[in-house]
């Protein structure tokens, strides 16, 4: 492989990770846009999503690397797995909002955010105590089709991840831009009080945001499993923090910004690891986080957040 091929390969890898981070970042951004709340439980909703996906695939009799599907069975299994995972994590997200965060909506200060840290801990430890601390091999039913691009290789898996992420993001953009509840969502993000006066059911809008965000996190969890071929109770924190950085980089509260930020962070991770070593990748990402927040808090595409104080 030439140097160019190495970097091309890292771009392919980075786009995979970036797609996953973008899906996760959308959840942060949807909730932040409306509630100005950093939802730490999102980290581990994503992690739980990867396990839901793992067990759904196992329910189809798929485990380890042995069973390979093709054609309609493959499409069917993937569709069902995405649907189940997204429904389960979406429901978890709605539950967190409905039973915990809604009670704290009127409370000023960090109470809601601390609650999400607590919820994150609870999810993390429930998984740790029930499935254990081992890494779990993730089923990979995809046929190993590989195309060579110069020295780099593009696999069917990569293309699939891109297609699925693109479809989900286009669907979300359409939803937020053109549907009635999507418009209500944008109105609520601008001014919840005015939206309520205009007949928007703010509670339902917020629940929808939590459902969508958490469902996308579930999709991200499944993609994590397909990409890395494993999952573990530990994956939420690092991936979550990178995705949060992505949301901030793109401009938190801004839907296209989260997608752009996700792709950029994915590329920074793979290319940065290539240049200065994987163990330092997080230092670069956190440095980006700090620098963006300090020098350009509105992010690349974001508006300057209205000062509600």
């Amino acid at each position: 492989m030439t140097v160019f091929d190495v970097y091309l390969q890292q771009v392919i890898n980075g786009l995979n990770l970036g797609a996953m981070y973008a899906l996760l970042a959308l959840g942060f951004t949807l909730v932040y846009g409306i509630l100005e709340l950093i939802n730490f439980s999102h980290f581990n909703v994503f992690m739980v999503g990867s396990f839901v996906a793992l067990y759904t695939l196992e329910a189809f009799g798929l485990s380890g690397q042995t069973v390979i599907l093709a054609g309609l069975p493959l499409v069917g299994v993937l569709l069902v797995t995405f649907a189940v995972t997204m429904t389960v994590t979406g429901t978890i997200g709605v539950g967190i909002e409905r039973f915990l965060l809604r009670r704290l909506r009127a409370v000023k200060g960090p109470a809601a955010m601390i609650t999400t840290i607590g919820v994150s801990y609870i999810l993390f430890n429930i998984v740790l105590l029930t499935v254990g601390a081992d890494t779990h091999n993730f089923a990979n039913p995809l046929p190993t089709v590989t195309w060579a691009i110069g020295g780099a290789s593009l696999r069917l898996r990569d293309v699939l991840i891109w297609i699925v992420s693109a479809v989900l993001m286009i669907a979300l953009t359409y939803f937020v831009q053109y549907t009635k509840i999507g418009k209500a969502m944008r109105a609520t993000a601008q001014d919840p009080e005015a939206a309520r006066m205009m007949g928007v059911e703010v509670d339902r809008v917020i629940m929808t945001a939590f459902f969508l965000g958490s469902a996308l996190a579930g999709a991200g969890g499944l993609i994590f499993g397909l990409y890395y071929n494993f999952t573990s109770f530990l994956i939420g924190f690092t991936a979550g923090l990178r995705a949060f950085t992505a949301a901030v980089l793109g401009g938190i509260g801004n839907v296209p910004g989260a997608m752009l930020g996700g792709l950029l962070i994915g590329l920074v991770e793979t290319i940065g690891s290539q240049i200065i070593g994987a163990s330092w990748a997080d230092v670069i990402i956190f440095a980006i986080l700090v620098l963006v927040l300090v020098f350009r808090p509105a992010g690349l595409l974001g508006r300057i957040a209205p000062n509600k104080s």
Partner: protein, 679 residues
């Protein structure tokens, strides 16, 4: 803790006065703590206690940052790591530079040793534990300022995420800089403390006593800071940053001070912790540790010194004592009923799950923690609740010294322009306030009145123009410097510090006039005591000017006050700084006619004492009674200026207030009346 314990046990000890009870409680607590290892000579339990003390010290440090100053720090364990690695590196065999003769002086005082392991001579660092404690506090404080500085401008939740980032970077660095930290394997062979040539060795007891001494010191520092000018300023920042800075608090300095002191506590604890453990690995300082400390602070009560100590002890001992016992009981129960998994359950593993549940439950049901920081004020009796409207201005004015007489103009605003994006909020406005005068600014909503106040007090930047106060330029100064120069203000939509008492709120107004810093506050030097006493007396005099409106409520938090009383507290707070000019933004808004009249007369009596006043007011009768000059703003332009009665007849003012059509109607009516007269 002592207060609530005292109230719980109040009846048996009812004969002992309350302040004595507190002292006695402290002595009993100290005696129990000191004698614990004597009566319970179990090394493992003493060790658990010493560990619990470490966490209590960390909780005290985080409490300063989160509880006092309200800066949510999610990466606090980073400073713990810095202190730990500082001591670890300088007492272990990890870093050993080549020996050179310039090391000799350090060797002479025992900080390094010359060593030979078969190669060239090497330096072995042997930093004393006792010296490492203050040094690590300084090093950690330095990093506290370094990490704190970029976060100063960030809002609460962004601050949390940046500190989280720093909190992650520090362990990653520790994991990757193998040559200094030995990477993921961690530092080993960290030296135990020595005292008079004796090593602490492996027994937990000496650490226990060092821990008691340290925790007592940190509690002492926390309590002294809390009850000082510094603590008040932190809490003011926590409650309302903008109001705090407008009341003369230097946000940058005080936030950095909170970061530095909080970090110093963690740095010292790091030294203690690794000296006891004699090893340091990156895993000991990650996000779970930061979260655990936060759980302890939240559980104990944010801002409550005794609360966080008790919270840390309960959670730590829950983990090391109670859950182990409970696990044995549950397992035995499982054996009894013959259920396999119940025999295998390990509850110690679930401690983090319990932490998560505690966080959520506390946030939902008891946000103030088990021992809330806020003290409950005594209920008011009937007389204090029923204030009567007083006429004739302030009372007790004889206790208030007259303002010194000045001549010329106090405030000169020249060509000031403020833009928000494309909107021109103030367009080349000129305003002059003569010393000792009363000037009123009126104008329709959105005409730029409050923006004028904000630009004078430094809360919004001007894009052009100059604002001179007693000859000195104000543009470019920070709000706290502007207050220091003698410009104090109130806000249109009252900005008090909600969880502070009336007295504390007004005392914050004195902040810029007091000088005691963190050291003199902790030591409570005679100078500090005199200063604090004087400030309190002055503030009580100011409060007393409102008759019995505020004085009986001095110990109550301001959230419970009526709207009019909150306005009065805000005026008292501004007056407490003894300003040269007072800027009142709609002082009578929301008051009934009787209260309005009362306040108008009080403002008049302030003016008679020599205070210069600039006020925004909608009620024209108030303006007419008080003001020498009225200035009218509309859409950012000054459209009229003059005596109240002149301004009332001004055509442009009529248009601005009533609209063009209405003005034309008025004019047409007047013309018609004229025409009829001619006919």
């Amino acid at each position: 803790m002592l207060q609530s314990a005292a109230s719980l046990l109040g009846r048996p000890f009812a004969g002992i006065p309350a302040d004595r009870r507190k002292g006695i409680g402290l002595i009993v607590l100290a005696a129990v703590m000191l004698l614990f290892p004597v009566f319970h000579n179990n090394d493992a339990d003493i060790d658990s206690m010493a560990n619990a003390m470490s966490y209590a010290m960390l909780a005290l440090g985080l409490n300063i940052v989160v509880g006092f100053a309200g800066l949510l720090d999610l990466g606090y364990a980073a400073f713990f790591a810095i202190g730990a690695y500082f001591y670890g590196v300088f007492t272990s065999f990890q870093v050993m530079p080549l020996w050179h003769s310039y090391w000799a002086p350090l060797a002479a005082i025992g900080l390094v040793q010359k060593m030979n392991q078969g190669g060239p001579d090497l330096v072995h660092f042997t930093l004393s534990f006792w010296l490492a404690l203050p040094l690590s506090a300084l090093v950690a404080a330095f990093f506290g300022v370094l990490f704190g500085a970029p976060t100063l401008r960030l809002r609460g939740d962004y601050l949390a995420i940046v500190t989280l980032g720093f909190g992650e970077i520090v362990p990653i660095v520790a994991r990757n800089v193998d040559s200094v930290t030995n990477g993921a394997a961690g530092l080993n062979g960290i030296q135990a403390p020595m005292i008079y040539g004796h090593s602490f060795g492996v027994s937990a007891t000496p650490y226990y006593y060092v821990g008691i001494a340290m925790i007592a010191l940190l509690i002492f520092i926390s309590v002294r800071l809390r009850d000082s000018r510094i603590g008040r300023a932190w809490m003011a920042i926590r409650e309302d940053e903008i109001a705090a800075s407008a009341m003369g608090i230097n946000l940058v300095r005080l936030k950095l001070l909170a970061f530095a002191i909080g970090a110093a506590f963690a740095g010292m604890t790091g030294v203690f912790f690794v000296a006891k453990l004699q090893t340091a690995t990156p895993e000991m300082f990650g996000f779970p540790v930061s979260t655990m400390i936060l759980v302890m602070v939240v559980f104990g009560g944010m801002g409550s010194v005794w609360g966080v100590v008790v919270g840390a002890f309960i959670l730590q001992l829950l983990q090391s004592w109670f859950l182990q016992d409970l696990t044995q009981w549950v397992n035995a129960f499982g054996a009894l009923i013959g259920v396999h998994w119940v025999q295998k359950v390990d509850l110690v593993q679930s401690i983090e799950l319990i932490f998560g549940i505690i966080l959520v439950v506390m946030m939902l049901f008891r946000r103030d923690g088990i021992i809330p920081a806020a003290r409950k004020a005594p209920d008011l009796d009937f007389r204090a609740q029923h204030a009567e409207v007083k006429r004739g201005g302030f009372v007790g004015l004889d206790r208030i010294p007259r303002w010194e007489k000045r001549s010329g103009n106090a405030l000169e605003v020249r060509g000031v322009e403020v833009r928000f994006g494309g909107l021109i909020a103030l367009n080349k406005v000129d305003i002059t306030v003569p010393a000792g005068g009363v000037v009123a600014v009126i104008g329709p909503n959105g005409s730029g009145k409050s923006t004028l106040f904000n630009v004078i007090t430094g809360l919004v930047p001007a894009s052009a123009g100059s604002i001179k106060f007693e000859g000195a330029e104000l543009i470019g100064l920070a709000p706290h410097d502007i207050l220091r120069k003698g410009v104090a203000r109130t806000f249109q939509n009252i900005r008090l510090f909600p969880n502070l008492t009336v007295l504390e709120n007004v005392l914050v107004g004195q902040h810029a006039r007091l000088r005691s810093g963190p050291f003199s506050s902790v030591l409570r030097l005679p100078r500090t005591r005199v200063e604090e006493k004087r400030a309190r007396d002055w503030v009580l005099d100011v409060i007393a000017m409102f008759g019995n409106r505020l004085t009986p409520r001095a110990a109550q938090t301001v959230t419970g006050l009526s709207y009019a009383n909150r306005r009065r507290v805000e005026i008292a707070r501004a007056l407490a700084s003894r300003p040269h000019i007072l800027l009142l933004d709609e002082p009578t808004a929301g008051m009934n006619p009787a209260e309005t009249l009362e306040l108008a007369e009080q403002i008049k009596s302030l003016h008679e004492l020599g205070l210069t006043i600039l006020l925004i007011e909608h009620k024209l009768d108030v303006v007419t009674t008080l003001a020498d000059t009225v200035i009218v703003l509309d859409h950012g332009d000054k459209i009229a200026e003059g005596k109240p009665e002149e301004v009332r007849r001004n055509e442009e003012v009529l248009t601005a207030y009533l609209g063009r059509a209405a003005k034309e109607a008025v004019m047409a009516e007047a013309q018609q009346a004229g025409a009829e007269n001619v006919a």
